[in-house]
Symmetry: C2
Subunit: 537 residues, 2 copies
């Protein structure tokens, strides 16, 4: 057989050659909609590659984007990787300290940003000494500090030979701010992303084909929009990229662009379900949604099923690029009752070929797949992390097993069910809040002896932080004062939704805070004034 | 990302671990049906690997099979590759001279054969000096010369660690007897077959998922049953393997085993369509058939469409393992009229990601994709041939282009249409007849001056040979006498369906026989007594 180095640039070449006129629609933040196609995306990516080459950016250099989903962001992915650079997608919602750390750690050379993030970029500029060039994705308005993207690449010719790459060369960099300590960079490679793309188009996963119209409602800076910008050119489907995730916009895009496939976190779908409950709008030809990032609630699953939309529930993480499980259907699906089908879907799917999953107890012994034994979920395989960017040690053990920080049970039918989380984080609307950082900030407040932060179920955000504090003897302090004390120390959207005071916090035998016991104690806790929403149990 | 060498043994490991109880049904030649599952297939493959290791068969050795489709044949594939051996699938319908040549060229060490081929094996034994061990797949009956398969492996334990392999190591060997000269061996490799499997399960190709029930009506010795024994464990679907392709058996398997996906050459479907026309039988839950190997006739496409079966038409060849195109649907499919959809399907599909197609004129200039320019069809990519087994030269040119011997037009929508064939062969019921060998045999007959053999449309076999002869001056000779003279020189099923005499054959300017002109002259020719059949235009 032939040598055929795997390279993601082959994806855009294939799409240009075989699906050149297939549309890419951008729904911009200003409400406008524009159209281009795979042929143009490839052509402009070559222009951008020339512009990067002209300024000396090449193999291994990091090119950062701070942007929502739109065609120019897509072009920039392929344009950057085309010169051998590593695409670093930044989350604009991160706290400035994190953004400073990440950009410096990555040593980003080029920063491509949306006009909406101009104030953020202005504030960060002198904290980002490695950045040599700023380009604004949007056309510059009066007084704009930087060149616009189209202007930057527009003067270039459109012939360019993608720089040769080894299939194990890095192409992407994504920082995960989930766990304790500094954010950690996850690198993606040509080979792994090609295999990931092949795996995720399969009928049991996203089920993508040339006639699909895919609208990812997950940002391109979140684990590469779940890989969809790699998967779409593989099959040549139409893509709808939206910089705006508001429910009215989404629902009208579904209809106007005849979206057949969509994907997003539960929070997104809750908004949409509520919007539709109010307006009675139609979903158009939508036939498949994939829900992941947090557990898909049963009522949400039912809501889509009632509308003849196939709903797939998947689990993944940045360290897996991100597909960890595919939703699929189990053997015997057609003979299952409605309730059994919903039960199955409410679990987190099964492992695709390319990865392996297992659960182990705290001593590392593999647990049986009996549907009841819960343990630490581990994963290894073709697109699993080996080592964080610039780290001195592998993130995977000698056998390749990476500990996900999730706690799960494996069922006899091969499906996996997340039952808890061992990593100390809270996932709000698909994004991480570090409980440990909140706790550290809290104990810095006068009058607080000890603090513990846990995620509490929230009908819209899935989880929001609750801060449980022990007061210092004799101190008087209100919850509002605690919140006040946290302001400025953490991002605004990290601020706890409530503060509760207790006489003592539970500890383990070895004296560590027992989050597990605390979570049990507060299992029934609900934030005040928060109503149950449509699409939730 | 992690190291993850691609290896087809991972497929059966995955199927055992994740889909262990999913059934493999065998419909045997004697009319019986048995069941096993992916777990058992993996377990017995390990037993076979131990049996091979015990007799010293290992890395790079060739293990041949001479068998129809059944579970033991499937086990043997993985059992052989598990020790690093190369699986050589032999076509039992080949002429003894070809079988002698092929086995000696491949230097097969082990021969696994179906009881039905016992007489053939008996006749070949002393022509196959390299074969050290014969095993009969079926349980031995009284006086059987060789050990039975279950007996051979049954004594072995079932723990075995697959022998380490490089992803570019060969795993399969398939001879193509199509073109002139000796049969040529095509080798398959771990890496290419994994990519091929990922590509072919996609919605636009076979559309396979865990809940699928796949019945390949294409032999495992024909380009690996179109790759289905690699694709099925990837998704964990149920497989139905039948050693018998008779229409009544197929149709009852469709219903009894609830087959959802099937694939085969047009000749197979013609039989089935006729059978159903006679009996009025139901097809069961069948939802997708893939037709390839020869052009799918429009009436056949319509027949399936009328029964709500999605029909995909693909093109491929042994040199492509064999998927060359995927059927898919074009952009705008839903807005096409019924006739337009049938027109599109009657073409040969479009290229999947992983391969590239182009057409060139005789000087090697690439032709436009205008739907009318016909030229030599060339292909290159991840699972395309580089060099025939033991050949001194590459089969692909310096840029990787392999000339398929097919003549095609590329359409603006990316679809490919086979318009002619430049290689001098006739394809009868999915198998090759070499026109050149027939011509050489014919001119050896007294009284024949010159002979040319071309394929003529046949409603059942797609093509059958017509021999056009020029008599030597003054000689008298009948068609029957010519056929009589060919007997013994070529396989019985190669004998021309008719012999026609002409005064002179057309030649090119350089004096070569012009098959193109001859085919034009006989374009309307039909064999006598052959009626149009159901499922044909
Ligand atoms: N279906 C799910 N059910 C429950 N938890 C999930 C699910 N999917 C992901 N998670 C949680 O999210 C973690 C991964 O988050 P991470 O931010 O790395 O992934 P991501 O792909 O970026 O997702 P997102 O786009 O939602 O941010 C998992 O370890 C798990 O805790
Ligand atoms: N859909 C098709 N339409 C027309 N011709 C086809 C089609 N598919 C294959 N062919 C012909 O068959 C040739 C490949 O035959 P080959 O025997 O190598 O393939 P194969 O995969 O073994 O197929 P089969 O199982 O039918 O023998 C192609 O070069 C072409 O001439
Ligand atoms: Mg995330
Ligand atoms: Mg063949």
């Amino acid at each position: 057989m032939q040598d055929w180095p795997m390279n993601v640039m082959r994806l855009v070449d294939h799409a240009e050659r075989e699906h050149g006129s297939r549309e890419i629609v951008s729904a911009w933040a200003d409400g406008s909609t524009t159209r281009t196609n795979w042929g143009e995306v490839a052509r402009k990516a070559r222009q951008m590659s020339r512009a990067l080459t002209a300024m000396g950016v090449g193999k291994g250099d990091r090119v950062a984007t701070l942007a929502m989903n739109h065609e120019r962001h897509l072009i920039a992915w392929y344009g950057a990787i085309g010169v051998g650079a590593v695409l670093h997608t930044l989350n604009p919602r991160l706290f400035p300290e994190q953004l400073a750390y990440i950009v410096n750690h990555a040593e980003d050379k080029v920063m491509l940003y949306d006009a909406l993030t101009t104030p953020l970029v202005a504030a960060m500029r002198d904290k980002w000494p490695t950045v040599e060039k700023y380009v604004c994705f949007d056309p510059p308005e009066g007084g704009a500090p930087d060149q616009g993207f189209e202007d930057w690449i527009g003067g270039e010719g459109d012939d360019f030979a993608w720089v040769n790459a080894d299939e194990r060369d890095p192409i992407g960099l994504c920082y995960t701010s989930g766990t304790t300590g500094n954010p950690k960079g996850v690198t993606y490679e040509h080979r792994g992303m090609i295999l990931h793309a092949y795996a995720e188009i399969q009928p049991d996963c996203f089920d993508l084909s040339k006639t699909s119209v895919a609208l990812p409602i997950v940002p391109m800076f979140h684990a590469n929009a779940w890989g969809l910008p790699w998967a779409a050119p593989l099959v040549g489907c139409k893509m709808v990229l939206s910089a705006d995730y508001s429910a009215p916009r989404m629902v009208s895009l579904f209809r106007e662009e005849e979206v057949t496939h969509s994907a997003g976190v539960p929070t997104i779908w809750i908004d949409m379900i509520q919007h539709i409950a109010k307006t009675g709008e139609e979903l158009g030809p939508l036939k498949r949604v994939t829900i992941g990032g947090s557990a898909a609630p049963r009522a949400m699953i039912k809501w889509f099923r009632d509308r003849d939309v196939t709903v797939g529930h998947a689990w993944g993480m940045t360290e897996l690029a991100p597909i960890g499980t595919l939703p699929g259907k189990p053997d015997g699906w057609d003979d299952m009752s409605d309730a059994e089908q919903v039960d199955y879907t409410a679990r987190q799917g099964r492992v695709p070929f390319g990865l392996e999953l297992r659960t182990v107890d705290d001593e590392g012994n593999e647990l049986p797949r009996d549907g009841t034994s819960s343990g630490n979920l581990q994963v290894r395989g073709a697109w699993a992390i080996q080592r964080y960017f610039k780290a001195d040690e592998d993130a995977a053990d000698a056998d390749g097993w990476f500990d996900t920080g999730d706690v799960a049970a494996m069922h006899p039918d091969g499906s996996m069910q997340i039952t808890d989380r061992s990593k100390d984080v809270i996932k709000s609307g698909g994004e991480w809040i570090s409980s440990i950082e909140l706790e550290n900030a809290a104990v810095g407040i006068d009058g607080i002896a000890e603090a513990a932060c846990i995620g509490i179920y929230h009908p819209k955000w899935d989880e929001r932080p609750l801060l449980v504090c022990v007061k210092r003897d004799g101190c008087e302090l209100s919850g509002d004062e605690v919140i006040e004390g946290l302001k400025g120390q953490v991002a605004k959207w990290w601020l706890p939704d409530a503060v509760e005071f207790v006489d003592e916090l539970p500890h383990t035998a070895t004296g560590k805070l027992s989050k597990k016991t605390l979570r049990e104690q507060f299992a029934e806790y609900r934030f005040e004034g928060v109503e149950e929403l449509a699409g939730r149990d």
